[in-house]
Amino acid sequence: MERRNVLKGGAALGLSLALGPKAVLAAGKPKVGFILVGPKNDNGWSQHHYEAIKKAEEKFGDAVEIVVQESVPEGADAERVMSQMALSGAGLIFATSFGYMDAVQNVAAKFPKVMFEHATGYKSSANSATYNARFYEGRAVCGHIAGKMTKTNKIGYIGSFPIPEVIQGINSSYIHAHKANPKVEISVVWISAWFDPAKEADATKALLDQGCDVVLSHTDSTAPLATLKTAGAYGFGQSADMAEFAPKPRLSSIIDNWAPYYEERIKAIVDGTWKTQNIWYGIKEKMVVIGEISDAVPPDVKAEAEKIRDSIADGSYHPFQGPLNKQDGSVWVKEGEKPDDGTLLGLNFYVEGIKGAIPS
């Protein structure tokens, strides 16, 4: 980078420090940064963010400059990358993984006039917002299908890290699989990674070896589906549609639809109307989309699954609707009630019926 540009960036930053988000526009076209946790072609989580970014880029064309940094490790590296983006003139930075949470808070404190958006986290400030999708709503639909499709009455779940989002997914999957098939059991395997295809494949094999014949994954690659295909078992697309694995093993999918949100927020920066917020959108707002349910699923099960989807969308049903008990048998949600978002965002226990402990 030439010194002149550094100075320009510094000047832009100085201006933005003095005048707020609108000033970034004044100093040139706004620059928006994204950091991805995996490679942009991982076929899952990161790729889906990347495709949403591409859509935003198409929409704004030359009006906005977008920079993307892929495979940024969670931790100190993320802080360094975001600081670098802020220093080089970015007015809005999206951090697209849960593990960036503290890094975002640290960098946001250092650059009060740069705006931050953190995906799936729960910490925000005057210049950092959070956005999240109610993935557990999608899990309810997939869980129902899983409960109906299993012949061994054992379903598997590959967890990444024991954070509330993943625990919501496990609970929601189990609750709905159990409603569909009271004999169902769930086995959870934690692999301590978002993206590790070899480990995801091994975990899938281990679940199959233990008698599971439907496996849900909460990781980013297509390795579980590739393994399930070889074994003739069933699974679901995660983050992306993964339609290339339909109709078997992929029965349906939970698609993360980020593009509308990115366009909305980038527009807010361009217009100078950006404000911090904490949003948590679901099927209703179309941030969570259920991929087409494949022909391998019997028509009646498909209809039931679609009914669950639609009742969640119109608000008549909540996946964590009472009565629900905690794993130890104590009451969690009473009959006819539903938990508030704060409880869900801090969820750290299994519901009754799930065996095993959450690693700490």
């Binding site: 490679p39 991982d42 094999k205 281990a206 690693p359």
Partner: protein
Amino acid sequence: MDFTSLNFVVLIAALMVASVPIMLAAIGELVVERAGVLNLGVEGMMIIGAVCGFIAAVETGSPFLGFLGGAVGGAVLSLIFAVLTQTLLANQVATGLALTLFGLGLSSLLGQNYVGMKPPVTGKVPFGPLADLPVVGPILFGHDWVVYFSILIIAIVWWALKATRLGLILRAVGENHDAAHSLGYNVRRIRLGAIMFGGAMAGMGGAYVSLVRVPQWTDGITAGAGWIALAIVVFASWRPWRVMLGSYLFGGITVLQLNMQAAGSAIPVQYLSMAPYLITILVLVIMSSGKGRAALNAPASLGQNFHATR
């Protein structure tokens, strides 16, 4: 501890498959180190093997050519290492680390257009009714050919190092390259051969990850298997059969910890994941504690560059 819910036959069969990549890479590295060369680029050669093998298999439709492609890819990458360390006398540790970084980047570039594709299936060896035998069937007769090949290569390396003239020369070069040189052996050529063998084995191990274990191509697919292979060579104190033991132990623990989770075991998995590394450290401590026979196993010229004029 509740082991009753685990199916041990399935577990052993699974660990044999899970161990193949690290076993191949480790036996290759063993030969390299016995020739006195320390190549830390195993991870890089594995991932290049994974991507080259994947491309070869997808383009030709033949899994066998895929493995061959993986071996060639790994060997070609190891040539860079060989030229830098044997001809230009670069530092072996630094060059090896650079090779890993280079391999990771290059594989990502080569694999760009192959993400999301499916490789041809590597079938099981048809043993007919033998595969249906209880217990022995799944363990001994239920695998693809690479599993048997990996055991065969251990036997060949063991026999070659122990009983052939080539093995004796290789060991001589690794123990004392000046003496070997004064006896008229071409130290550089022998080391070049060993490095390329190591590269080919690592490449094949990588191809096993992308063609059989996962099976697909994604960036960073080997996820550190090369480093485990390096640890196994030390763990095995440079003995071929112990490489097999070490690979089964490391591979076995990976499979066991996932299976135990799936079976709902209560012990924290972190302890199991840690175990192989703890054992490696323990072996290193015992080896470096001096007088025992184990300490004599490390090739005396390991990691030292050779030049005829010195």
